[in-house]
Symmetry: C2
Subunit: 340 residues, 2 copies
């Protein structure tokens, strides 16, 4: 086996102000590190691009500690073991790891998950069978609790989380309304079996949403925020549930929007309609639900009940551009970088 002698990395050069730009990232090439006992040296094959990483580039308090300036940008990876100093892992093994934006990483084996390339394409471990798929599964079933005949709405609905939310809702007997931007995504939502597909770039989203949900919305899976949330809120039914796993529309904001202040009005809606708003990170549910998720979702993917789309860009160098594009909704399906 030939080990490339040098490791290309992309690090945080400074904290972005608003939308990240090229100068916020710095590229360097360093020696490939060696694994210590209990560790393995991994070569990154695929890198996952996820919206939450934008939050970790800022120093605002969030659910995860921010990155420090100078850190390698974080991210989930599918990697191959090239050198092992740990029992149970051998060169050639494929694992799900958290190597970040670099070609090589050294990691302790405790948090690695071994992947079986014969069971499913290994990239699915970053999407439909990984963190985004589990986010959809856990948030929808543990918080949203859709009942047969109820209406579930989700935005960024062709993304890896949103598309899973809609399809799982259908499997559970609910109606699914998907919201996305552009004709191609709307067509995709129809292929996926969504009962209604609404383009947020067209005028009067609120009115079209009211038409698409004549009996109101019982579950809104919130991963976007912003104007879509404004259009959804008036359509929520009494006792509606709102799992909140992301607010991509706000991630690049540099200041609070102009007034009036609608925060009290939002609390008023929570009260008037007995709403449940519940923020969550998927890891909260991993101990109790991840096994069920893997079993159910693997079955649904195999049977075609859940379809997924990947948007793969070749080359680590292109990660910053692809990441910014994803934050702006330019990806079509799960955004992945093929690193090697």
């Amino acid at each position: 086996m030939s080990i490339a002698p040098r490791n290309h990395r992309i690090r945080l050069a400074r904290r972005p102000q608003g939308e990240p730009v090229a100068e916020d990232f710095t590229h360097d090439v360093v020696d490939v590190p060696s694994p210590e006992p209990g560790q393995v040296l991994l070569r990154t094959r695929y890198l996952s691009l996820d919206p939450y990483v934008r939050g970790r580039m800022s120093d605002a308090k969030s659910y995860a500690a921010p990155m420090e300036v100078g850190d390698v940008i974080v991210g989930g990876t599918v990697s191959e073991v090239v050198e092992s100093a740990a029992d149970g892992f051998s060169p050639g093994d494929t694992v799900l790891s958290y190597g970040g934006w670099q070609e090589y990483s050294v990691e302790p084996v405790g948090h690695l998950r071994r992947l079986d390339p014969s069971a499913a394409p290994i990239t699915t471990a970053l999407g439909v069978l990984g963190m985004p798929g589990f986010t959809a599964y856990a948030g929808l079933l543990a918080i949203g609790k859709p009942q047969p005949g109820e209406t579930v709405a989700v935005a960024a609905a062709t993304g890896p989380v949103g598309s899973a939310v809609g399809q799982i809702a259908k499997i559970h007997g609910a109606r699914a309304i998907g919201i996305a931007g552009g004709e191609r995504k709307i067509a995709r939502l129809r292929e996926l079996g969504f009962d209604a597909a609404l383009d947020h770039r067209e005028p009067d989203l609120a009115g079209r949403l009211a038409e698409a949900a004549p009996e109101g919305i019982d579950v809104y899976f919130e991963n976007v925020g912003g104007p879509v949330w404004d259009a959804v809120l008036p359509q929520l039914n009494e006792f509606a549930r709102v799992p909140v796993c992301g607010l991509a529309a706000n991630y690049n904001a540099t200041s609070l929007p102009e007034g009036p202040d609608r925060s009290g009005q939002l609390m008023g809606s929570v009260l008037a309609k007995s709403l449940t708003l519940r923020g969550f990170i998927q890891r909260e549910f991993a101990p109790t639900m991840f096994e069920d998720f893997l079993r159910d979702m693997t079955g649904w993917v195999a049977s075609g009940q859940v379809q997924h789309t990947e948007d793969i860009t070749e080359g680590l160098d292109r990660a910053p551009d692809a990441f910014v594009g994803m934050l702006g909704g330019k990806n079509f399906g799960k955004a992945i970088i093929q690193v090697s």
Copy 2:
């Protein structure tokens, strides 16, 4: 038995703009109605004043249909049966009813609850053993779910809901922080056994709250909104629960506050801390919890584990002033009008 020949009523003259004024109410005197089969004629003894009634005076959509202009103002009452056209009720019986702001009412017996004056003072059916007490019990236990050692905060803490919230939290092994306005109320909170008592009229509520809750707040029982909520939100812990049963600070508002718009920031806090915000009206929990409530709370009141205070004003004529005073926090304990 002598039946007074005339019924003094207070009706909604027009919808209040902001804080209600005398001209929003109209007094009249009409004939006492007669009960039809299945109904009873009731004489009002005590009338409950509750903040939610302000919401029903407006025509904004809320959890209850608004009153119409001309309607008798609604309210819970403890009443005496003076004439019965229904099986099972006899003159002299004391009942919990919903007679509103008038001296006599005719009501179907289906929704009356018979009271035993020998078991507890009958006014408690409007407070600690009635709707406010049940609001505290159900919201705190079903949504707040305080665990031993956790910290529970509540505002309007000498009011009938807030004082029950704090005392039930203590019974369940949690720390209780009460927020109220003025020295007399703060002293009362100390008597009730709250671990900390904060006056929202003093400066730097946020700083004093941080000191009083060095390990953060796990449950905030929201019945006020406004600046107290602004001070509490930064102190909430990851996975904190916020039962929302009222927003008294907003009830008299006539327009949205000036910006910036903090509604997106609020959603960001829900996400960053995996918060649960849950609006509720106590009636949601009545089928499953009211029996337990009556048993538990009757025991706690009898043993002195839960104390309560009543603020009784004599004379139906004084209901409008007492009501406006209550909305402004001038009452000391459960606000009740002694009608006859």
